[in-house]
Amino acid sequence: MSNEHVTEPEVNETQNVSPLDDFDTAETVSTAPVSDDSILDFDDDPLSATSVSKKSLVIFFLIDTSGSMKGKKMGELNTVMEELIPEIRRVGEADTEVKVAVLTFSTEVRWMYSTPIPIEDFEWARLRASGVTSMGAAFKELNHRMSRNSFLSSPSLSFAPVIFLMTDGYPSDDYKEGLRELQTNSWYKFGLKAALGIGQEANDNILAEFTGSKDTVVHAYSGGQLAQMIKIIAVASSQIGSKSMTLSDDTNHELGEEDVFAAKQKLLGQQIQELVSTQTDGDDVPFDTGW
């Protein structure tokens, strides 16, 4: 039997391990610091055609576009979302890629784009309001898409999603059935959730059912408040959502997924309430007064 093409394996040699007798231990581990210049010099690197993806986070916006949102509410929401996108680009740690997915719900549910879009490429499409409030259908669609086989398929996905619900009224369908389905979804369970009630008709109890706690539910009664609340929630949840938690607490006990989720959701609630308490009403006209 010919051995002429046998090649001894190149075995990874770590710092604390002595070489084995049976294998050549050609050094294959790059442990010495490599200068940034040599790493970044990719003029001749054919592999630079596929970019390096940072750890990524998906923010889901669920937005009520039913008929009652027509007028000042929808106008203000469109404007603040256009202004918000550049702010989210600056958010989070420098090593996180944020992607955005927007689901609108009225009589039908519809995604703004067919897939989550990196914040650098995201352009807001101005929404129009008409129809009823199919919140239950929205929950079911969200459940379907929050999956490794769908919107959460990116290999670089490193954080649980942020889910932000905005609505101005009662659901017109069986939202509880949709919510029950959604609550079986692990991404939903461990995701950071917040909700914004717009105007007098929004029911904070339903929103608290969605988020799991009242301190992650806020209410806006005017255009100015709407703008403030959307920015507060979106920025705070993006920052916390993209935070890498330490793997152990002070007692050196390793934190599991549930611990990390609980800590982040609690932090989000605290931050939202602190920020909300510092906001002023100003001279803004409430949504629900006639003019």
């Binding site: 039997m1 010919s2 093409h5 046998v6 090649t7 001894e8 394996p9 190149e10 075995v11 990874n12 770590t14 710092q15 604390n16 391990v17 084995l20 049976d22 294998f23 294959t28 581990v29 790059s30 442990t31 610091p33 490599v34 790493i39 001749d44 690197d45 054919p46 592999l47 055609a49 596929t50 970019s51 390096v52 993806s53 940072k54 750890k55 990524s56 090593d95 890629e97 927007v102 609108t104 519809r110 995604w111 703004m112 784009y113 067919s114 897939t115 879009i117 990196p118 490429d121 352009e123 499409a125 929404l127 398929s153 990116s154 290999p155 670089s156 490193s158 152990s248 050196n252 390793e254």
Partner: protein, 303 residues
């Protein structure tokens, strides 16, 4: 005459550099007589797996030793593979775990747990850890012969194969309901039954890659991950000069991407690659266009 060649490389994660941890990945490749093996292993990072850098090294060695043993009678093995591949692969998996356990037992006997290692646990916590867990690791191993390829995997990590048609595919199917899921480890008491495997008969392999999950996680999409491997394949004709580029790229992917350890091991058919190099280059160009088309479709508004 088939000529196999390969390469393997592991880089320490940027996060491990910051915390003075060692690289917990290991990798190797071996070219034998009419067969080749590519192996990577990723030692577990959590506290109770404090010797996992050794566990991953033992996993790689155990695999190559097991394969070498089965290929001592290559002709008999290859004659049986078509009809008995499931049994043969199962026996290889068992041999790997057996080899690994022997290495762990030997190392532990010669190197008892130190007080410093124990100091990270309460006495009760430490007593509850099975000793083999100290060395826990994943394992991804691909083997190819003249006209067949198979692979075994326990825990996370990825295979990419490029067959004669020049298209990169991930040949392993992952059954989410099966016990061999991404949390499986060579240190599990029933590890031998927790493998996933694939067998691709009657297909000539151009190149196959095994990688630890740090590499996959540095990509934004599975398409990009596959395209990356096609590009590497197109450069294998100049392996000696390309090796440094691969090492730099893996380092970049760890530093600017996942910050995790990354390992990549490759075996390829030199002759077939030379024959198909024009096709591979064509696939690289096709992939680039497809990526641009996908991006354009992604940015199309639906409301």
């Amino acid at each position: 005459m088939i000529m196999f060649n390969g390469f393997s490389h592991s880089v320490m994660g940027a996060s491990h550099e910051k915390t003075n941890l060692v690289c917990q990945d290991s990798s190797a490749f071996k070219v034998g007589d009419h067969y080749a093996v590519a192996v990577v292993a990723d030692g577990h990072g959590s506290k109770k797996h404090f010797r996992s850098h050794l566990g991953s090294k033992f996993a790689v060695e155990a695999t190559i030793e097991a394969i070498d043993r089965f290929y001592e009678d290559r002709e008999a093995l290859e004659a049986n593979l078509p009809t008995n591949h499931k049994l043969i692969i199962k026996n290889i998996e068992k041999q790997i775990i057996s080899n690994w356990n022997m290495k762990v037992e030997k190392h532990l006997a010669e190197n008892p747990v130190t007080d410093e290692e124990k100091s990270k646990f309460t006495p009760e916590e430490f007593e509850a850890i099975p000793p083999e867990s100290y060395y826990g690791s994943t394992l991804v191993a691909g083997i190819t012969g003249d006209n067949y390829t198979f692979g075994v995997q326990i825990g996370d990590g990825s295979f990419v194969a490029i067959f004669e048609d020049g298209r990169a595919v991930m040949p392993m199917e992952y059954n989410e309901s099966a016990p061999a899921n991404v949390t499986a480890s060579v240190c599990n008491s029933n590890a031998a039954s927790m493998f996933s495997s694939f067998y691709a008969p009657n297909r000539k392999l151009i190149a196959m890659y095994g990688s630890t999950d740090g590499l996959y996680a540095s990509f934004g999409s599975e398409h990009d991950f596959l395209d990356y491997h096609t590009i590497i394949t197109s450069q294998l004709v100049n392996l000696d000069t390309f090796k440094e580029i691969i090492k730099n790229n893996l380092t970049k992917r760890s530093r600017f991407g996942t910050e995790d350890d990354i390992s990549l091991s490759c075996i390829y058919n030199e002759n077939l690659l030379k024959d198909r190099i024009d096709l591979i280059n064509k696939r690289v160009a096709e992939n680039k266009k497809a990526a641009a088309d996908r991006k354009a479709a992604m940015l199309e508004k639906k409301v």
